[in-house]
Symmetry: C2
Subunit: 431 residues, 2 copies
C-alpha cells in the first residue's frame, strides 16, 4: 500500500511510492511514453507512464484521460532538478475517477464573457488559482498584522436600516415589517465597537448598486475596516502604511510561485516600505494644474488625476486633507483650517487607484448633530450613532481597505473581477 | 513626559509614570481618596487618586467623572497582588475627555428589549466585551486550524440567483434587471472552488428569513464552510472533530479571563477532545423510543430529541446517516443502503443543539440530475453546478459550522443573540 499524499508534499517521499489524487491539467505523448501533468490544488507534477513498464491496460487508461479528468495515480517519487516542483512521478498505476467531457476552457484565448459564464471552471486554470491563493494570503496577512497589534475582530451587520454614506446606490430588501438595505460600510458599527474594545477591525462583504462598469468596480466587494479609539489623523496614516507594507511583504514571502505564474514584476513590490509619501490635497491640485490638468481647488479627483499623481512615486501615496465639502459628513475638520478634513486616501502605484479611504471621525456631539441636520439624515435611524458622542466620546479614526483593489494591485492584474472567486459585476449574477 | 500605553501593558512600566486612555467603568470614593476603575478595551485597572497628593483641581476632575466618561489619566504603575490585573495606578493627573450623560445601562438588571435597543452601548459591559473577544478568538482558531491543514480560504458570493437548500425563507433584492437572493449557504460555490484548490473554506454571513424566535436562531448569522475534494464521509467527520477540539482548546488557552467573567464551567470544555462519540440515526431513534419519545424512523429530530441525545455525552455527538428523504438533495446516499445519506450533524453538549451539518456530496452526474428533476430545481440557474459533475467529478465532502451557536456553547450563554456584535433577530434591525 502506498501513502496518499498531496503534490506539495511529495518531497517527503522521494524514492517511495505514493498515491496522488487530482485532475489532468495537460498531457503529451511520444507513442511509448505519456507525460501526464497532474494538479491537485496544492501543486502541479509531471507523471511519466512508460508503456513497457506499466503495461497495456494502464497505458490505455492514461490515453483515455481528457483535460480535467479526475484521477488517482500511484508511482515512485523521483527527484528531478528540471521539474517545476523538483519532483516527477514514475507511474505504476492509474485510476480514472471520472473522464471529463471536452473542457470548455482550452489552453487558447477566450473572450471575457465566455470566461465569466464559466467562472466555476475558469477558477481551475493556473492564473486564477494563483489569484485565489494570493487573495487568501492577503486576508491572512491583514488578520495577522491587526491581531498582532492589539485589534479585535468584530463582524458588523450586513442588513441595516440606514446607509452609511448616501442613500442612493443601495440594494434594498424587505426585512419582515421593515425596509432594510445591504451595507455599504460597517464603519458606524465599528465606531460603536471601538468604544468597547479600543481597536477593532472587520473583514467582510459590502455592496454598491452602482451602474459603473470600470475595471476598478465590483457590485459586491470585500472591505477591511479598522476603527481605533484615541487614534488621531497622523497615527491613522502610520497604521495604514504599516499594514499595507506588511501585506505586500507577506505576499512576496508566501506567494513567490503565484506571482511568477502571473508574471508580476516583484521588484516593484519590493519597494513598498513604510513610510509612504504624503501630499496634501492643496499640493496635489498645484501639481495637477502645473501639469496642465483642468482642475480647481474644491474639485474631486478622477482616475486620470489619481494615476498621474501616483505615477510620481514607487510606493503608495497618501493624499490628505481634502476639502470638507467633498468628503463624508462624519469626517473631522482640521481644527486649524476647517475647510479641509483630517482624512486621506491611499493611492496604489502603477495606476491602481485608491485602495484605502480613511479619516479621523467627528467626536463632538454638537458638530456631528449639525452635520446630520445639514445632510437631512433621519435622526431616529441614527440616534444610536449620535449616542456614541454623548457617552464617553473620544477622538477616533479608521479606514476602509478595498480587498479586491489591493489584490489587483499586488497581483498586477488588469481587472478587479479576477481578484474574487465569483465576481458580481453590472448585470452579472451567474454563476 | 510619560509614555502612553494600554492597560494590558502596564506591567512593562512598573514603577514608572504612564498615561492611559479609556473610559470610567466604576468609581468609589472615601472623601479623601477616589478609586477610579478605568477600562480601555485591553483591560481594567484601578486608579487611586489621593486628594492630598493630586491637589484640589485634579481631585475635582476625578469627582466630575460619570460612568463611561472618557479620560486620560497619568500616574505611577504600582504592582499590587490584590489588584485584578496585578497592578494599580497612583494618579498624578487626569484629563476628562468627555463627561458622559447619565449612562442608560447601569450596573443593575435591564430587560432584553431595552438592552437590544442599546446594543451600541451594551457592548461595553464586561460580559459583552468578553463575548466579543471570545468570538474573535474562535474565528482566529478556525482560520489557524484550516490554514495549517492545507485549506485555502475562498469567499463565495452573497448575492445569488438561486437558493441552496430551499426557495422559501429568502431575502430577495433587485439586482439591476434580475431577481437576486441573499445566500443561505456558499456550499455550491465552495464545491466549485474545491475542484480548483482541493481543500477550501469560507467564513462569512448567511441569511434566513425565518419567522422563528428561538434562542438558537439569528436572521443574519456567520458560517464556516469547508469543502474538500477526495474526502469521503468518515474523513469529513474526523476533520470536524479535530477542528472543534482545536477551537475549544484555543479558547481555553487564550480566553481564561473572559470565560471567568462569564462564569463558564471550564471543566466541561476541557473534556472536549477528539474523537467524538457517534450514533447512527437508527441508533438514535431506538434510544429515543426506549426513552418514551414519540418518534418514528423517518422523522426529523426536534430540539428536545437533540438535547436528550446529546446529554448522554460530555463532548459533542455526531448523529450520522439520516434518512435521505429528510436531508438536502445533494447528499450522497450510502451505496450499501441508499435510504440513508452519508451525512452527519454535530450536536454540542449541554443542550446547545446542532453546531455542524455536513455530508458527502453526490458526485455522479446522472444521480444529481435525477435529484434536480425530483426537486424541480431550475436547470438554467444550476447548470454550472451540474457542470462540476461533467468535468473531473470526484468524491467530495463538506460541512457548515454555525459560528454563533459554537460561540454560545463555548461561552455557556443562554441566547445566541449575545454571540454577535449587532444581532439581527425577528423584527429587529436597530441599531
Ligand atoms: Mg492615541
Ligand atoms: Mg481522501
Amino acid at each position: 500500500m502506498s501513502t496518499t499524499t498531496s503534490i506539495a508534499r511529495v518531497g517527503d517521499f522521494a524514492g517511495q511510492a505514493v498515491t496522488l489524487e487530482g485532475w489532468l491539467y495537460n498531457k503529451r505523448s511520444s507513442g511509448k511514453i505519456q507525460f501526464l501533468q497532474v494538479r491537485d490544488g496544492t501543486g502541479l507534477i509531471q507523471c511519466v507512464a512508460v508503456k513497457a513498464e506499466v503495461g497495456e491496460d494502464t497505458f490505455a487508461v492514461c490515453a483515455s484521460l481528457t483535460q480535467e479528468s479526475s484521477l488517482r495515480v500511484t508511482g515512485l517519487v523521483r527527484a528531478d532538478d528540471r521539474a517545476p516542483g523538483g519532483y516527477e512521478l514514475t507511474v505504476q498505476s492509474v485510476e480514472a475517477v471520472q473522464i471529463a467531457e471536452e473542457y470548455p476552457i482550452s489552453l487558447k484565448e477566450h473572450g471575457v464573457d465566455f470566461l465569466m459564464d464559466h467562472r466555476h471552471l475558469w477558477v481551475r486554470v493556473p492564473r486564477q488559482r494563483a489569484l485565489l491563493r494570493i487573495r487568501a494570503e492577503v486576508e491572512r496577512a491583514v488578520a495577522a498584522y491587526l491581531d498582532g497589534n492589539g485589534f479585535t475582530r468584530v463582524d458588523p451587520p450586513l442588513l441595516t436600516p440606514s446607509s452609511c454614506e448616501d442613500t442612493t446606490e443601495l440594494f434594498h430588501t424587505q426585512y419582515f415589517d421593515q425596509e432594510a438595505y445591504l451595507t455599504q460600510s460597517g464603519q458606524m458599527y465599528m465606531e460603536a465597537a471601538a468604544m468597547s474594545l479600543g481597536k477593532v477591525y472587520s473583514a467582510g462583504p459590502a455592496f454598491r448598486a452602482e451602474k459603473s462598469k470600470t475595471r476598478r468596480h465590483l457590485i459586491e466587494f470585500w472591505m477591511i475596516e479598522p476603527e481605533m479609539a484615541f487614534v488621531e489623523h497622523d497615527e491613522n496614516l502610520r497604521i495604514q502604511e504599516q499594514l499595507v507594507s506588511h501585506v505586500v511583504k507577506h505576499v512576496l514571502n508566501h506567494c513567490e510561485e503565484e506571482l511568477h505564474t502571473l508574471g508580476r514584476d516583484v521588484s516593484a513590490l519590493a519597494k513598498v516600505e513604510a513610510p509612504f509619501p504624503r501630499l496634501s490635497y492643496d499640493e496635489a491640485i498645484d501639481w495637477l494644474q502645473k501639469h496642465d490638468f483642468d482642475i480647481q481647488w474644491g474639485d474631486d479627483f478622477g482616475s486620470p488625476h489619481e494615476t498621474a499623481l501616483a505615477n510620481q512615486f514607487d510606493r503608495p501615496l497618501f493624499i490628505e486633507r481634502y476639502p470638507t465639502a467633498i468628503k463624508a459628513f462624519y469626517m473631522q475638520p482640521d481644527p486649524n483650517r476647517p475647510e479641509v478634513a483630517l482624512c486621506a486616501d491611499m493611492l496604489a502605484p502603477e495606476g491602481y487607484g485608491e485602495i484605502i479611504g480613511g479619516s479621523q471621525r467627528i467626536h463632538d456631539y454638537e458638530l456631528l448633530k449639525q452635520r446630520f441636520d445639514e445632510h437631512k439624515l433621519p435622526e431616529d435611524t441614527y440616534a444610536w450613532y449620535l449616542d456614541l458622542r454623548k457617552y464617553g466620546s473620544v477622538p477616533h479614526s479608521g479606514f476602509g481597505l478595498g480587498l479586491e483593489r489591493t489584490i489587483a494591485w499586488i497581483s498586477g492584474i488588469e481587472h478587479i473581477r479576477e481578484a474574487i472567486a465569483f465576481p458580481r459585476t453590472l448585470y452579472r449574477l451567474y454563476p
